[in-house]
Point group: C2
Chain length 335, copies 2
């Protein structure tokens, strides 16, 4: 029923090897025989079996990607970059959601490896010792995407989260703000939550400003938590004149909390954040934020992985992509 390379060989009167050659575009085939083979392929409706090929060649041309949550816009934009480049180099991707649960992450890494992926792209929260251990059992290259780990042994691509946060806060300070609140994210998340907090702290300290515990809240990176956090700031007697939210979603939540209170952004309170998700330019006022190049992070990670998979020489295995402050409408100068 299923037509194999053998059937094509018989039909066209050549050997399997020759059929294999024409299917794989090997130049060492006389144009004439090539034609015969193509005709047979067409006639029989032959479709090469990639699984058999994978077993024989030990290459599957598919890469595994573990992602926290594909329905989260921030990751889905990265994923698009990943897939586009994968595609460009003829790879397919097996996508696995992990919800940043360590157990789940380790589990999917293993099943991906069982499936003999040619490489692995890992996007997650923190990379623990257990992760490293799991990676070690792999015989294929791995790149971290949007994270990194201490030792910097594993190739990775990300932005400098601390610096991005620093730049955001500094721009607030430059605009004359002194009472700057922070809506942070999970500090356990070293690569992102903690790093962005560090950037805030450093910018404040460098400006000779002291951190005020009352002006620090930690949310979960999401809209609702930004809204909640801001509501609480609004109840304190000495309201901040500006707030730095560690993600756009929380910033937008904050903006709405402010507006719901009858106050205006940026006239009464300025808001800034980091990310630049699509929605940042789909709100009023337009959100001022430090852009992180989501698509590029995915694309560059995948490009790096393709190089690693063919043992290509690479100049740089710890890649930091640039971020950029996008001035829009949510920050006012206090002069």
């Amino acid at each position: 029923m299923t037509v194999t390379i053998y059937d094509v060989a018989r039909e066209s009167g050549v050997s399997m090897a020759t059929v294999s050659r024409v299917v794989n575009n090997n130049p060492n085939v006389k144009p004439q025989t090539r034609k015969k083979v193509f005709d047979a392929i067409e006639k029989l409706g032959y479709r090469p079996n990639a699984v058999a090929r994978g077993l024989a060649s030990k290459k599957t041309t598919t890469v595994g990607v573990v992602i926290p949550d594909i329905s989260n816009t921030i990751f889905s934009e990265v994923a698009r970059g990943v897939e586009d480049i994968a595609n460009m180099y003829r790879y397919n991707i097996i996508l696995c959601n992990s919800d940043k649960k360590k157990e789940k992450e380790i589990q999917v890494i293993n099943t991906l490896l069982e499936k003999q992926v040619d490489g692995l792209l890992f996007m997650g929260g923190t990379v623990s010792e257990d992760h490293i251990q799991a990676f070690k059992t792999a015989s294929v290259p791995i790149v971290l995407c949007g994270t990194k780990e201490e030792s910097e042994k594993i190739p990775s691509v990300d932005i400098d989260h601390e610096k991005a946060a620093y730049d955001a806060v500094q721009s607030l300070i430059n605009a004359g703000h002194r009472d700057i609140a922070l809506i942070g994210g999970n500090f356990e998340d070293l690569a992102k939550g903690f790093a962005r907090y560090q950037g805030y702290k450093k910018a404040m300290e460098d400006a000779g400003l002291t951190l005020n515990e009352d002006l620090i809240r930690v949310g979960n990176f999401r809209y609702e938590s930004g809204l909640e956090s801001m509501k609480q700031f609004l109840q304190t007697e000495r309201k901040p004149s500006a707030v730095f939210a560690v993600t756009d979603e929380m910033a937008i939540g904050a903006i709405h909390a402010i507006q719901d209170e009858g106050l205006k952004v940026p006239e009464d309170i300025s808001v800034i954040s980091v990310d630049n998700i699509r929605m940042a330019s789909m709100v009023r006022p337009l959100l001022t934020t430090v852009a992180q190049p989501m698509y590029d992070i995915g694309a560059v990670s995948m490009r790096l992985l393709t190089k690693l998979m063919v043992n290509e020489e690479i100049e740089q295995s710890q890649i930091i992509l640039p971020h950029e402050l996008i001035q829009r409408e949510s920050v006012a100068s206090l002069s």
Copy 2:
């Protein structure tokens, strides 16, 4: 270097067949031997090769999913439903973006089939004759997710887009609106763009209202086009009292166009749409919309596919999921 089932067999003093049995949880193995085998597996760090297994068993436990654009929130929410259920039934998914380009769609369908996926989930715009042709060459089940085709031969799951649009517009009419503008989407997109337009038209006609060409614009489903379309309506002398946008994104664009003009939603103009993306409850005013269960559409599609893949009896192969009007803040009564 790589440890195979044969190595485990030797190490534990049993046959490959027995090792295969314990790995596959076949009950016909004496607990004692089972233990021996597990010990050997652990000792050698054996990891089953899913590609070899796939070749031998003709099952890969992976399904292909072709999706228009994973970075589009509407599809990424569906994708999450798909992956969750796939996972639950031990399948992995190979994800391919198609951008709704027919050529690309056909191409990825073919490579997915070459990779011997056990089933195919297709989300796209319109399903043409060429698609059907490509599907026919497949020997595995296929389900359409968020689309359908004329003949209804191919299993599918979706909502009733026409009825959803109808309900939205009808609610506007019930609220006393008469001048209801439409911001539509590509009419070539039969399953969605055109169907939703039909719903609008029918609701108007059923209420004895005549369609006004000046009050109809077609966008591309996205925010910017909603904003643009609304701007144009605002310049006409007889402004609509309400607008029905075929997607939430366009509705939000419309809201901003209205607000940018110094008018208020819903006091001056009401806005309603269909979708209920996460952002619908992350704007001011909160968007009133007809919710389509994105996650469920993905989950139910995948569940249907899992049944098809094991030849399970199915009662219903054309599944229509319910939609629901979510009253929030963007529609005012004209009484």
